[in-house]
């Protein structure tokens, strides 16, 4: 996409250099039009990224793009500052979170983020539907205030007996969620970062991306069901 001579300053038409300010006239330059978030931060497309190291970089750039500096500037310069700042914010928000960062990588690499088209985790689905049933029963007890029958569910028990069952589920699902997070940010991140560059169609690459997709998908379901459980147990 190098159709425009990006490195030419929009103001003085001289070579602007690689910095965000023109080397010749010092005017603020727009961020590369097609630069992805990693590039905006001048980072390689790697996943193991130290969020703590990202922050000072963000502040440095944010200061440079701050619209206040350009209040006296040209209208075009003010616009550039604004646009740069908003893209920078977006990039920072996405990159600093390991899950958002991974989802973003999927978009970059495969042109689509998370959607329903991936092999669905059937076992997890069944577990979630089970929890839904327990939650329905629990809610029914709450409304009736009595001891309704639990068809196929927890013996003949009231809400008091159902509560520990739900709590147990919550703990188990939370553990599953934590395991996924650990696997993603551990082994999977490392595997991605180890891949040699310049092998876009490689098998190993596809494999890693598939793992990311699977874990992020499962995480979305786990997050939702955990939220419901916490809500029902009054812990939310």
């Amino acid at each position: 996409m190098e159709t425009l001579p990006v490195k030419t300053c929009w103001y003085c038409r001289q070579a602007a250099g690689a910095d965000s300010l023109c080397a010749e006239c010092g005017r603020l330059q727009p961020l590369e039009r097609d630069a992805d978030y990693f590039r905006i931060f001048r980072l390689e497309r790697k996943l193991s990224l130290d969020a703590a190291a990202l922050e000072p970089k963000f502040h440095e750039f944010a200061r440079r793009f701050h619209p206040d500096h350009y209040r006296m500037g040209l209208p075009r310069e003010r616009l550039i500052a604004l646009e740069n700042a908003s893209r920078l914010n977006q990039a920072y928000r996405t990159l600093r979170d390991p899950f958002d960062r991974s989802a973003y990588l999927l978009e970059l690499e495969e042109g689509r983020g998370l959607d329903g088209k991936d092999s669905p985790p059937q076992e997890l689905f069944e577990e979630i539907l089970e929890v839904q049933e327990l939650l329905d029963e629990y809610a029914a007890v709450g409304e009736a205030g009595g001891t309704p029958a639990f068809p196929g569910g927890v013996e003949e028990a009231g809400g008091a007996a159902l509560r520990p069952v739900l709590e147990e589920r919550r703990i188990a699902l939370q553990k599953a969620q934590d395991d996924r997070a650990r696997r993603l940010t551990g082994d999977v991140f490392a595997a991605w970062d180890r891949l040699p560059d310049g092998d876009p169609g490689g098998l190993a690459r596809a494999e890693v991306l598939r793992s990311i997709r699977r874990i992020l998908g499962e995480r979305a379901y786990l997050r939702r069901v955990l939220h419901r459980l916490r809500e029902a147990l009054g812990e939310a």
Partner: protein
């Protein structure tokens, strides 16, 4: 949230909630999810093997009001139709009937996916099960 009357009706009075016997050779089960929101839906149909008509349809949804309404409506529509007719149900039909807003379209997509998954399950059973082995083979060849 501005739910339409029809959504509220299906939501507060869902039709065909429940389960069918998964191991029944004439029952198709589809369990699908939407990673965008983390909701899950199970839809089951029981088909008359002679007529190919869907005699019963059941659902269970772990999801929002629109997803519950979509699956409730889908089961209502499927009952009495043939499998081929049910296959024609589109999420846009559901969106229209329930007047779902744009942010709730994925909830209807979930219902359409569930219908397709249930039918697919049924076809696979027919292909591998003892009773439907013949038709299954024919299907495989014609593909």
């Amino acid at each position: 949230m501005p739910y339409s009357d029809k959504v509220l009706d299906h939501y507060s009075n869902p039709r065909n909630v429940g389960s069918l016997d998964k191991s029944d050779p004439h029952v198709g089960t589809g369990i699908v999810g939407a990673p965008e929101c983390g909701d899950v839906m199970k839809l089951q149909i029981r088909v008359n093997p002679e007529t190919n008509v869907i005699e019963d349809a059941r659902f269970k949804t772990f999801g929002c009001g629109s997803a519950i309404a979509s699956s409730s409506l889908a089961t209502e529509w499927m009952k009495g139709r043939t499998v081929e007719q049910a296959m024609q149900i589109r999420n846009t039909d559901i969106v229209e009937e329930l007047a779902l807003p744009p942010v709730k379209i994925h909830c209807s997509v979930l219902a359409e996916d569930a219908i397709k998954a249930a039918i697919e399950d049924l076809r696979q059973k027919a292909g591998t099960g003892t009773s439907g082995a013949e038709s299954g083979e024919r299907q495989a060849v014609s593909r």
